[in-house]
Amino acid sequence: MTEQEQNQTFTDWLGQYKALLFKVVRAYAVPIMDQDDLLQEILIQVWHSIPTFKQQSSSTTWVYRIALNTAIKWSTKERKHTDARETIETVQPMLQEPSAQPDERISWLYDEIHQLNEVDRSLCLLFLDGFSYKEMATILGISESNIGVKINRIKKQLITKSKQPNHYGI
């Protein structure tokens, strides 16, 4: 694969999977600086992965797998920021929320997802994005039955919490 082809694939994937990447970033990182940091990490990993993509799986599955792998590893880092001199006051975020008011229900959903452990967060994201158990098993490397158990537990947990008061009408 030439560098030009790699660039082209990366540009295509970035346009196609921007929403997917933002979801993963939002689920794993809370402060905007961490979100910036994680997005950069994921993009780097996606870039490096392109020559090894053999089209045995769909590109969506491939990108999701890399994003989740990176996010899971990143979330274990004790110190997130690469530069200790960076603070909220000195560094503006590269990512900006659009001017439209964010949907509070989505914010609530992300808060709940963030409270799950790293693996359950991945499962929850994949399930909400419509991946089958089989695809999730391929991405995460665990059995379909195990995924079924975990998904049921996550669904119950989210439904229970949504019925509690003060959850933005969810």
Partner: protein
């Protein structure tokens, strides 16, 4: 609320991405990284020039004050002065080459990468430069009839300095890689 309704809420954001990338901030970030690289380069160059010039002067002064003169120590002083001169010339050439980059984000990034490459090359060169300095120093001390313990102490000192310079070099190399990754992201 049932899970299907949560699903509908979730799907809204797929159609409307929650964030946009602020290109102004991206540009500022590139500039900040650039400034950081230049600062490190400037300090590193000046330190190399000053330390080598001072060390060369010291060795020369000690040798001149002693009788009989030690040839290895003269050679050592010459080598150290030559190193300081080399760094000075490299610095002048680097400063002259700075005008060849344009003021776009990509141009500034290319500039920063050029500086980082220079820094990596300089740190590697100065690290290998330690070897003739060590050889001449040990030879000079040996010819001066100093004790074996002094020789061993010097060897230990230089070994530590060699390890530390390798660590320093790896920091510069990592910084360069970081800039290159940023450039890749920008050009894709």
């Amino acid at each position: 609320m049932e899970f299907d309704e949560l699903q509908k809420i979730w799907d809204v954001q797929t159609k409307e991405p929650m964030w946009v990338i602020n290109e102004t901030v991206l540009r500022n970030r590139v500039q900040a990284k650039t400034q950081q690289t230049f600062h490190i380069t400037r300090i590193s160059e000046l330190l190399s020039i000053i330390v080598n010039a001072a060390a060369g002067s010291f060795v020369l002064a000690v040798n001149l004050a002693k009788s009989p003169a030690n040839l290895a120590m003269y050679l050592l002083a010459t080598w150290i002065f030559a190193t300081a001169l080399y760094v000075l010339v490299s610095r002048i050439r680097r400063l002259n080459g700075e005008k060849t980059f344009d003021r776009t984000v990509l141009g500034e990034l290319a500039h920063a990468i050029s500086m980082a490459t220079y820094q990596v090359r300089l740190s590697r060169l100065l690290r290998w430069n330690m070897l003739p300095i060590v050889a001449l120093t040990l030879l000079g001390v040996w010819e001066g009839g100093k004790s074996v313990w002094l020789l061993l102490g010097l060897i230990a000192f230089f070994a530590l300095a060699y390890v530390a310079s390798g660590w320093e070099h790896s920091i510069y190399a990592a910084k360069k890689r970081e800039l290159e990754v940023l450039r890749e992201k920008l050009t894709q």
